[in-house]
């Protein structure tokens, strides 16, 4: 008697399968994380409980979660769009940094030229433009020169980080920062109002929620969203229907890159108030948002919930890092494991595995 495991494609699936698989893959993810804890000699249940109580169990935890959800929702909602057109933008991290740089320039240097009332709106606009400009070349590279966008967007992340490093240690290095590689602090009228007692910058939060809603309407109710969905579903049919792939991806990347740029504005003007090292401006939001978009099943509105969920994991991760003395990469490992199990889950939506017993 022999036992074999066979994997075979699934032609159709029952309607509840997607939800079942989502629940199972998240559970598997947490199981994987739990095993890691166990290796560390930590009770996995206690640790996972601590993650969620750290992020959702207290007012402070909740406010921190919302703070981190802002960039994740902004970027995640934008990514649902481009991923739908099967354009794999891995460059949100760089687009965020460019948004921070552009708005930082406005806040630091144009303060005297613009009435202070307008400074923040102009900063948001500059941030959007910065992020979009960093995103668009990759569309041209792809459509005109057939350069894979995964490579080009990823490479632009490193370039963006180096530009920021260069600026803060060179030309934009602040005179008031006692030699630290920061720019000067933004003037008060160039910073964002916070909900008292928290770090939640209200304007950006509202912009994030509205963006998700507007993008949802865009995808499901407009001509443009229709063209986007046709392109994602069958590019040949899109061409037959006279839909211009370049125009679609250009617009999508403008929105996706722009929203990442807006997230950069929020981080700069809402939290840090000066430009500093890339890793402290962003802490990987551009990458985490990829998982946010994926968990949202490419539905912009769902990005709100998955954004908050992953923000919770970031905050909870920080909490156990401190209280249980875990290494700082822990959170990244969580996210990696969760993304991995989500993608595996998608695979089981189209494939089934069975064990065959042979006589």
């Amino acid at each position: 008697m022999g036992i074999r495991i066979k994997v075979e494609p699934r032609i159709s699936h029952p309607p509840i399968l997607p939800l079942t698989i989502l629940v199972i893959s998240l559970s598997m993810g947490f199981l994987g994380i739990g095993v890691l804890f166990a290796f560390y000699g930590i009770n996995p249940f206690a640790a996972i409980w601590k993650i969620f109580s750290g992020s959702f169990g207290s007012l402070y935890g909740l406010s921190e979660t919302m703070t981190k959800a802002i960039p994740l929702i902004l970027i995640g909602a934008g990514l649902t769009l481009v991923f739908r057109a099967k354009f794999w933008n891995i460059g949100a991290e760089g687009q965020l940094l460019l948004g921070a740089i552009f708005s930082g320039y406005v806040g630091l240097n144009l303060g005297s030229l613009i009435p202070s009332f307008f400074t923040v709106p102009v900063m948001f606009m500059a941030g959007f433009i910065g992020g979009a400009l960093w995103a668009l070349p990759t569309v041209i590279l792809r459509t005109k020169f057939n350069v894979n966008e995964v490579i080009s967007t990823l490479m632009l992340n490193y370039i963006a980080a180096e530009i920021l490093n260069f600026l803060i240690t060179g030309p934009w290095k602040g005179k008031t920062q006692m030699g630290f590689p920061y720019t000067d602090d933004l003037p008060h009228h160039a910073t964002l109002t916070l909900i008292p007692g928290t770090r939640i910058h209200i304007v950006t939060l509202v912009v994030a929620l509205l963006s998700a809603l507007i993008l949802y309407v865009l995808v499901y109710y407009t001509k443009f969203g229709y063209e986007l969905r046709v392109t994602g579903d069958n590019p040949h049919a899109a061409r037959y229907a006279g839909i211009n792939f370049m125009k679609i991806t250009m617009t999508m990347m403008t929105i996706s890159g722009g929203l990442a740029g807006v997230a950069g504005v929020g981080e700069l003007a809402g939290i840090h108030h000066h430009l500093s090292y890339p890793s402290s401006i962003s802490s990987g939001y551009g990458y985490t948002a990829i998982i946010v978009a994926w968990l949202a099943k490419l539905n912009p509105l769902m990005a709100i919930f998955s954004g908050i969920f992953f923000a919770g994991i970031l905050v909870g991760g920080d909490a156990i890092q401190i209280s249980l003395g875990l290494p700082s990469a822990t959170v990244q490992i969580f996210n990696g494991i969760l993304l991995f199990s989500l993608i595996m889950g998608d695979y089981f939506l189209t494939h089934r595995v069975r064990v065959v017993v042979q006589a």
Binding site: Y221, T222, R229, D233, H236, A237, Y240, G242, N244
Partner: protein
């Protein structure tokens, strides 16, 4: 494993949500038989065969082979019991050779240098059944008929005793179909059994030994070949008599709609596919393009509809020269297009039925207000197409990928015809349609003509061309070798032109127009 001698499917039922695709279906088949499986579009033929091939699992019912009940959980189980299936859409890898494709499927092939063993087996099969293919040719170099032969060889090599062929002839030229029938008859004589699905009644009558007819997921009846004729078959399928006659009224030719002059187009591999083609189509005229597939018809159509760049010459639509053709410009000029590769171009399978009903028309004011789509008018349109073209769908909200092959074709036809074109470019419009739907579509095309629409009709079905066209042109190796007016249609002459044997003389003979009405 002993050979498959008798197969039985008993009381097979399969539901998709509320749709009952198969209702307690039973059929049987013995070695050496060719069973025809017939039925209207959406009757449940493909579903039943997918169950037999292990792709779907039945909700109830059983499959019995040589008297023993078997359960198939996947195609590999079915293959293990000697059942092979050739799908309508081939599943070959384009950039690999014939031999590599076969070795890939061949389970007995060794891990290293798998092509050696497969190659030896292949040549023995090729000789035994007269299946001629070059094992070193790449798949993309092969015609549809040759690719099908590769699929058959692959299936035989896996040890199939029962071959299921789902609409195998819809992609073949008449000559290729004849070749296929010779092979099938030979296989049956060797003790293989065959299940053959087709909408072409003549084909079924010419090769099948027995026929089972399905309607709405149920068996209407099973008859021996001797008890059947074409009318009886059609009546069993549809449940009423079908009128095979079409009324084709005389109508006046209006002004010119499409003019093509000195057109040159390149094919996918950079070869000259269309060479200096000239013709024009007038309002109220159906202009046919005959020819063995692969002689430039597809490239011609793609150039006219803006899907393929023009290398030289001019295309003029209603007096306006199209200098930079694109599908959206051309569609805005009133051109509808029923594409040859319907699955590849015609639909977005993951999107719901109603959204597919306005593909390419979604920017029209009737379906969109400013930026927003007008879903209530889109759904109204979808319902109308569903009713007028008798499309069998449970609701207009289901994704198109759940439709049967013929119903997808009806959706495309309904959409393109109701777009109100001034020029309809139709490639093989009745591919995969059942007899009733075929009649209906041909009638619709004639109605368009009466309304003054110009029609460019590409088909390999000469009967269809003879029924519908005012003029028939013949393409051979990228040239239009002749244009024959109605009244001078002659099966033999056009057949010769299609093979390139009659060229120049006919061209001169047939250049004039006949005096009509």
């Amino acid at each position: 494993m002993s050979r498959l001698k008798r197969l039985e499917m008993r009381d097979i039922t399969k539901k998709f949500g509320d749709v009952i695709a198969n209702k307690s279906i039973s059929l049987y088949l013995e070695a050496g038989e060719i069973l025809g499986l017939l039925g209207e579009n959406g009757a449940g033929k493909s579903t039943l065969m997918n169950i037999l091939y292990g792709l779907y699992r039945p909700d109830s019912g059983s499959i019995i082979i040589n008297g023993k009940a078997v359960v198939f959980r996947s195609p590999s189980d079915a293959i293990g019991h000697g059942i092979g299936m050739i799908h309508q859409h081939f599943k070959l890898i384009e950039n690999h050779t014939v031999l590599e494709n076969i070795a890939l499927a061949y389970r007995a092939a060794p891990f290293f240098f798998p092509t050696g063993k497969a190659g030896r087996r292949l040549s023995s099969f090729k000789e035994a059944y007269g299946l001629e293919v070059n094992p070193d040719a790449y798949i993309w170099q092969l015609s549809a008929g040759e690719q099908q032969r590769v699929e058959i060889l692959k299936t035989l090599l896996l040890g199939a005793d029962l071959l299921i062929l789902d609409e195998p002839t819809s992609v073949l030229t008449p000559q290729e179909s004849q070749g296929l029938f010779t092979i099938l008859k030979k296989l049956a004589k060797e003790g293989h059994s065959i299940i053959f699905i087709s909408h072409k009644l003549e084909e079924v009558l010419s090769i099948c030994t027995r026929v089972t007819v399905l309607r709405d997921g149920e068996v209407v009846g099973t008859r021996e070949r001797q008890e059947l004729d074409k009318r009886e078959l059609a009546r069993m399928m549809v449940g009423r008599e079908i009128d095979f006659e079409l009324s084709r009224s005389e109508c006046d030719k209006g002004p010119e709609v499409l003019k093509v002059k000195g057109l040159n187009v390149k094919g996918d591999r950079g070869e000259n596919s269309v060479n200096g083609v000239d013709f024009e189509i007038h309002e109220g005229e159906i202009f046919g393009v005959a020819g063995v597939s692969g002689n430039g018809q597809q490239e011609l159509v793609e150039a006219i509809t803006g899907l393929r760049p023009i290398e030289g010459g001019q295309v003029t639509l209603r007096g306006k020269e199209i200098s930079k053709p694109s599908p959206s410009i051309i569609s805005r000029l009133g051109v509808s297009h029923i594409p040859e590769e319907r699955i590849k171009y015609g639909t977005a399978p993951g999107l719901p039925f109603y959204e597919n009903c306005v593909l390419k028309q979604h920017t029209r004011p009737s379906f969109a207000r400013r930026l927003l789509l007008d879903f209530s008018s889109i759904k109204r349109q979808a319902k109308q197409i569903m009713i007028r073209y008798d499309i069998r769908v449970p609701s207009i909200n289901v994704p198109v990928k759940t439709l049967s092959g013929g119903n997808i074709q009806k959706l495309i036809l309904g959409r393109e015809i109701s777009a109100g074109p001034s020029l309809l470019v139709a490639s093989h419009p009745t591919y995969g349609l059942d007899v009733a739907a075929t009649q209906y579509i041909r009638d619709q095309i004639l109605k368009l003509r009466e309304k003054g629409v110009a029609v460019l009709l590409v088909s390999e079905d000469l009967e269809e061309l003879f029924q519908l066209c005012d003029r028939i042109s013949v393409m051979f190796k990228g040239h239009m070798v002749g244009i024959v007016p109605r009244g001078a249609f002659d099966l033999e002459k056009i057949g010769l032109m299609m093979t390139g044997l009659a060229e120049a003389p006919l061209l001169e003979e047939c250049n004039g127009y006949p005096d009509q009405g």
